[in-house]
């Protein structure tokens, strides 16, 4: 569905992404893990067309989208749930969702039905329908950001750190919903700090370090990989035995 080849991008003179190659197949959950500043957000924004690539190829359904503007990429079926949620704070929850469906405006969709589908996934949004988005709690905002992106009927939905700043219980909910999205036939590209949870639900993963992909493979393999465990899962295998003895 999505193929990236030798992608390079950055900010002005700063090169952030260095020859990134990866792919996502239909129906997969693929996760990208990496430390702060590795370039995960930059990669997602480049796919979404918000940052212009300086070299390489991105193809969505075999269409090169490297010069396509963000508006058309959303219309082509690739939506981003951005880092930090990015609400329309001064608009109501409902208005946020309706605007999310902007690219569907010519499809003669029944708006009530569309909203109901989102409310079925996130019942709390129904209760808060008329509340200003800026006054929602962090978890509710994350749900609204996801709901808003889903209103565009994306085939590929990219999520940038959906669990950041949320209580463990809510994080569980969010991951459960991501799982449901995949079961409903969506394809998901998930960027996470919470590598353990991300690898637990993903089919495959990529490890990004200072703008380069240093590891890739099935999620299970990455979970069991010593380097990944040491760097991203907060476990040091070689000293673990010793710690047990101390306990």
């Amino acid at each position: 569905m999505l193929k990236i080849k030798n992608l390079e991008a950055g900010y002005g003179k700063l090169r952030v992404l260095k020859r990134i190659s990866m792919h996502i197949d239909t129906g997969e959950i693929v996760t990208i893990i990496g430390a702060n500043g590795a370039g995960k957000t930059t990669l997602l924004y480049t796919i979404a067309g918000m940052i212009k690539a300086t070299a390489g190829e991105i193809s969505l359904y075999n269409q090169n989208i490297i010069r396509t503007n963000p508006e058309s990429i959303v219309a082509a079926g690739c939506s981003l749930v951005p880092e930090g949620r990015q609400m329309f704070s001064t608009l109501s929850v409902k208005e946020n969702l309706v605007l999310g469906g902007y690219v569907q405006r010519k499809q003669k969709v029944d708006q009530k039905e569309e909203l109901q589908k989102i409310y079925d996934i996130f019942p709390v949004l129904k209760e808060r329908e008329d509340q200003l988005a800026g006054t929602l709690s962090g978890g509710e905002q994350q749900m609204l950001a996801m709901g808003r992106a889903l209103m565009a009927h994306p085939k590929l939905i990219m999520m940038d750190e959906p669990s950041t700043g949320l209580a463990p219980l809510i994080v569980k909910d969010i991951f459960a919903i991501i799982n449901r999205l995949r079961d409903a036939g969506n394809t998901v590209l998930l960027v996470e700090q919470n590598a353990k949870a991300a690898l637990a639900i993903a089919d495959r993963g990529y490890v990004l370090e200072t703008g380069k992909i240093i590891l890739q493979g099935p999620a299970e393999d990455l979970l069991n990989n010593q380097d990944v465990q040491r760097a991203y899962l907060g476990r040091d295998v070689s000293t673990e035995g010793a710690q047990c003895e101390l306990d």
């Binding site: 979404a48 918000m50 963000p70 508006e71 959303v74 219309a75 939506s79 981003l80 951005p82 990015q86 609400m87 329309f88 704070s89 001064t90 608009l91 208005e95 309706v98 605007l99 999310g100 902007y102 690219v103 405006r105 800026g134 808003r148 992106a149 565009a152």
Partner: protein
Amino acid sequence: MNPDLFFQYMLAGITYGFLYAIVAIGFNIIYNTTGIINFAQGEFVMLGGMFAITLNNILPLPLAIAAAVVITMLIGALLEILFIRWLDNPSVLRMIIITIGLSILIRELALHFWGETVFSLPYFTGNELSTVSILGAKVSPQVLWVIGVSIIMVTALSLFFKFTFTGQQMRACAANRLAARLCGINAKNMVTFSFMLSAGIGAVAGSVISPITYTQYDIGPGLAIKGFTVAILGGLGNSVAAVIAGLLLGLIESFSIIVIPLAFQEAVSISILLIILFVRPHGLFGRSDTASLKEF
């Protein structure tokens, strides 16, 4: 002061107050979608009046005004497309300098086409001598036109922003441009649209006010300063506050004649502007912590 004179001052204050409020709302619309102050806003008022006056030579008054509004809107869109749209992430200072440049450019062109002559549209109903009696006081019908049209315009605008999809998109761009683009909304088109809309309401105001205040190629900057004062007074970006602040400035100016000589009247709004900028830069009604939240 006798009650009659008091009433006349008050009416004059309200009339000018609405004019200032409309200019301020023009500022707000563009500020909300772009974060810049368009200093050519006063020129839109001038152009609306001037085109209506010129076209009224060949067209009946309502048609002349409608055509003038459309032409001014097209000019607004054209200016944005030519001078602003293609800039990638311009700094606020650069944008402001561009709009000041545009204001000078428009004024020079207007001077070229219309000269220094002072023009005016005819009274919409009656003439300068006719009056309507309200509660025993005599009111010029044109004043009622100004007040009525302003109220209709402000109401229509708030309905537009609340209930139309285009209005919602503009609010979305104002609230979060990045998110708007990620929803597939073309933010650049919304900026062009906001220039059209501001030019349009400026042109309407320029037409209804013309019989009372007259129109000349250089009325723009004076109006821009008044409108800017009102926009700041109301807390940039908020239309209802702009109306209240506009009426406040209009009334203060009008009643200041009692204590300050007419020649210094212009200084009133500048002084208010400076005081506000020093004391409450987020406006009378704004709260400093919400100053970054933009709403129409």
